[in-house]
């Protein structure tokens, strides 16, 4: 049998030596952090005092992390404001001020899944290639660890072999997968799955959907139909519409979210692929515009590399240590 997840062995070893938690997440996001640290260190240019003209460079830095022009300007304005009231004369002060503003922006994000229904129906949506199916597998793994029963529905009836992909995950994770094969009506699959999940009194039902460009109105209407069909069976369902976003996505993530939100009212987010050099900064741009909770972030390919989102940890992992900035020019 092939390994459950790629690199399973490697991940197991890693997990033994360092338990999951803030330090581990920090390590996982180190690529992002190092780039920011290097940049911020450079800003002090050997002197201990912050030159106001460096605000512009700092803004560039935030933009390069995909924060977007809006949130970056907001943070810089905040720094300007603070610097007028008090002297920002060390890296520590600067980091504290940025952290303060980022915490305000990310405040609505840190809420965990409520599970206020049974079966708790989660509809997983997103554009093509963000990692919906893999994320479903990882959330399933996480739910099983929380000792909840899970059922999956193969609602991506469009892409070649998408049903097989989810079915294989079901086999590996030993959870039932409801499917009707390629080209079936996704809403019918969702309907059957909910009926079946009820009959087996499953805790959580996750429904996969085909990736779709948010600009295609007919495909967005299909999502509305799935929602309506579920709604007829259970007025509370779907309890949670989760949009999956790729961390590598730039400002288009905002447009994606806007379109999906308009069509089906997105309830929460999952951010995937944060283990590359992609800056998680887009999350700040999103939080600034849509006050949505972020349930999970994906930080690797191992089964445990999906973490419940935690605001403080996320900022910790994103921002450099104040100490590493005290000695300008020191290796980041």
């Amino acid at each position: 049998m092939p390994p459950l997840f790629r690199n399973t062995k490697k991940t197991e070893n890693k997990l033994k030596s360092s338990p999951p938690g803030p330090s581990n997440l920090r390590e996982r996001l180190s690529k992002t952090r190092n780039a920011l640290t290097r940049g911020l260190s450079g800003l002090f240019r050997g002197s201990e005092t912050l030159d106001p003209s460096l605000f512009e460079d700092l803004e560039d830095l935030l933009v390069s992390a995909d924060l977007g022009v809006g949130p970056s300007t907001k943070i810089i304005d905040h720094l300007r404001d603070v610097s007028q009231r008090q002297n920002l004369n060390s890296a520590g002060d600067l980091i504290a001020a940025i952290r303060e503003e980022m915490t305000v922006i990310l405040e609505p994000c840190g809420k965990s899944l409520p599970f206020d229904g049974r079966p708790y129906v989660m509809l997983i949506v997103g554009v093509n290639g963000v990692g919906k199916t893999t994320t479903i597998a990882k959330i399933t793994h996480w739910l099983l660890q929380q000792e909840r029963t899970v059922m999956l529905a193969a609602g991506d009836t469009y892409r070649a072999a998408a049903v097989e992909q989810l079915t294989r995950w079901g086999e590996r994770l030993q959870v039932p997968v409801i499917s009707q094969g390629q080209d079936a009506d996704a809403a019918a699959v969702a309907h059957d799955a909910l009926v079946s999940a009820r009959a087996r009194s499953t805790d959580v039902l996750m429904i996969d959907t085909a990736g779709r460009q948010h600009t295609q109105s007919d495909l967005m209407n299909q999502l509305i139909k799935i929602k309506r069909v579920l709604n007829k069976l259970d007025p509370e369902a779907p309890h949670e519409i989760v949009q999956v976003l790729d961390a590598g996505t730039g400002q288009n993530a905002l447009s994606q979210l806007q379109h999906f939100h308009q069509a089906v009212q997105v309830d929460s987010l999952c951010l995937t692929k944060l283990d590359g050099t992609a800056k998680g900064g887009i999350l700040l741009a999103i939080a600034d515009k849509f006050a949505l909770p972020v349930r999970f972030i994906g930080v690797g390919e191992g089964p445990d590399d999906l973490r419940p989102f935690n605001t403080a940890q996320f900022i910790d992992a994103l921002l450099p240590d104040a100490e590493s900035l005290q000695r300008p020019g020191a290796p980041a």
Binding site: Y158, D246, G250, S255
Partner: protein, 452 residues
């Protein structure tokens, strides 16, 4: 695609255009706007800086002051610099090797590699009549092999079977051996998505590359990628001798700044654009045309080529002959034309390529509804052959029957009949004026120039 960048640039440049002469001041204002627009379009910061510097330098140069309207000059410079960053020419796949010629694709997870491989297969099969083998070294993602096999069956090309317990390099070697024995022209080799920081996986793709010695190594990248595009592209470019880039998912509303960034940092040509989920949704990349599209100048050349590719020539010629002979243009012909139009990607995709049309407000574009085409076809399908040949016999009760049969309303049937009458008149005029050939010739001659 690229809609919002072009909106943004147009708005900015309109302001410059209104002014009598370019000063250092108003160039600076325009350049600040261009800078924000490019950043919001996800063009990487270093690329934005290089771009702005070049445009500013040229805008302040002597050639601007000599021109009659400085605004025109800025538009021209921005356009030329966009073209310059995205590369000079339209590259196609170079497959002139001893067969089998191998094309390897690589990229991050979810970029669209497998779909792109299938689209390339369809492209090479239809346009160059190559005998193609699809193979994949993706032993990781569940059902990745099934996915490619399904696609191979759909386009009816050979597929090299593999299983997940095999080694990617072995699969690749066996696929090439198989291709050599079976007289295959081109092997399209898919690979697993990988992060550029995953050392083990990058070593693996290098080993696959060394084993198959491809003539083309293509980096597939999602047009929605943000600032990180420069990092991943640089890493792949360092690991593999890339020969080109394919930009996918350009049918969304991504501003596509990644195209500029990747081209700038790797220096490798962008060869194709993925423009939709269908397997024929692949376009050759023309830097000048895309730059024109960014500036809202339309893309007439792509349109003409698409018409030539997708319109069924036999049917078009039959219709042309029929009209030339002075026969009536009837509702059957009308339906045929509508269906040809749908084949070319629908009205929305056609309108987007026409010059000036990207300047239409969004609420107008929303009314360009491709479902209308299907409704129209349904109405015509609900008519008897006699009614189609001679629509004047369609009166009250026939209209009610047609509306009921097609699930529409009588006013819709009326609207269609009116449209048809107008079209019939147009056809008559065309016959007198020299026919379709003149119309098309006029279209071809019209290059997307500066509309100011």
């Amino acid at each position: 695609m690229f809609d919002q960048l072009s909106d943004r640039l147009r708005e900015t440049l309109r302001r410059v255009r209104g002014q009598a002469r370019l000063t250092e001041d108003n160039i600076a204002t325009a350049m600040r706007e261009v800078r924000i627009a490019l950043l919001e379009a996800d063009v990487a910061l270093p690329v934005v800086k290089a771009f702005i510097a070049q445009v500013r330098e040229r805008a302040l140069g002597a050639d601007v002051m000599q021109s009659v309207t400085p605004g025109q000059m800025v538009v021209k410079i921005v356009h030329e610099e966009l073209v310059a960053i995205m590369g000079e020419s339209n590259d196609v796949l170079k497959l002139t090797a001893r067969p089998p010629a191998v094309v390897l694709v690589a990229g991050l997870q979810g970029a669209g590699k497998t779909t792109t491989v299938a689209k390339l297969a369809q492209w090479l099969k239809q346009r160059e009549h190559k005998k193609i083998l699809l193979a994949t070294t993706d032993i990781y993602r569940p059902a990745a092999i099934d996915q490619l096999k399904t696609l191979a069956d759909m386009i009816d090309v050979d597929f090299f079977p593999a299983s997940t317990d095999q080694d990617p390099v072995t699969i690749a070697r066996n696929a090439i051996d198989h291709a050599r024995r079976s007289g295959i022209d081109v092997v399209l080799m898919d690979s697993a998505g990988r992060l550029h920081v995953d050392a083990r996986m990058m070593t693996e793709i290098r080993a696959v590359h060394a084993a198959v010695d491809p003539v083309e190594t293509l980096f597939v990248v999602d047009s929605m990628t943000g600032q990180d595009a420069v990092n991943s592209a640089t890493a792949f470019d360092e690991a593999l001798p890339l020969t080109g880039i394919i930009l996918t998912k350009t049918d969304g509303d991504a501003r596509g700044g990644a195209a500029l960034s990747i081209r700038h940092v790797t220096g490798k040509p962008i060869k194709f654009l993925g423009t939709g989920e269908k397997l024929n949704a692949l376009e050759a990349f023309h830097p000048d045309r895309v730059a024109s599209r960014i500036l809202g100048m339309g893309d007439v050349l792509t349109l003409v080529e698409e018409v030539q590719q997708k319109v069924d020539k036999g049917k078009a010629e039959k219709l042309a002959k029929k009209i030339a002979k002075g026969k009536r243009f009837d509702l059957d012909d009308f339906r045929e034309q509508i269906m040809q139009m749908e084949k070319m990607g629908g009205i929305a995709s056609l309108v987007e390529k026409l010059p000036g049309m990207s300047g239409l407000p969004n609420h107008v574009m929303d009314q360009v509804d491709d479902r209308q085409i299907r409704r129209t076809v349904a109405i015509i399908n609900s008519m008897t052959p006699g009614e189609r040949a001679n629509p004047t016999i369609i009166r009250g009760s026939r209209k009610r029957r047609i509306a009921a049969g097609s699930g529409t309303e009588v006013p819709e049937v009326n609207r269609l009949l009116k449209q048809f009458t107008q079209m019939q008149k147009m056809m008559k005029k065309m016959r007198k004026g020299g026919g379709m050939a003149n119309l098309l010739a006029g279209m071809k001659g019209r290059r997307p120039g500066l509309p100011y």
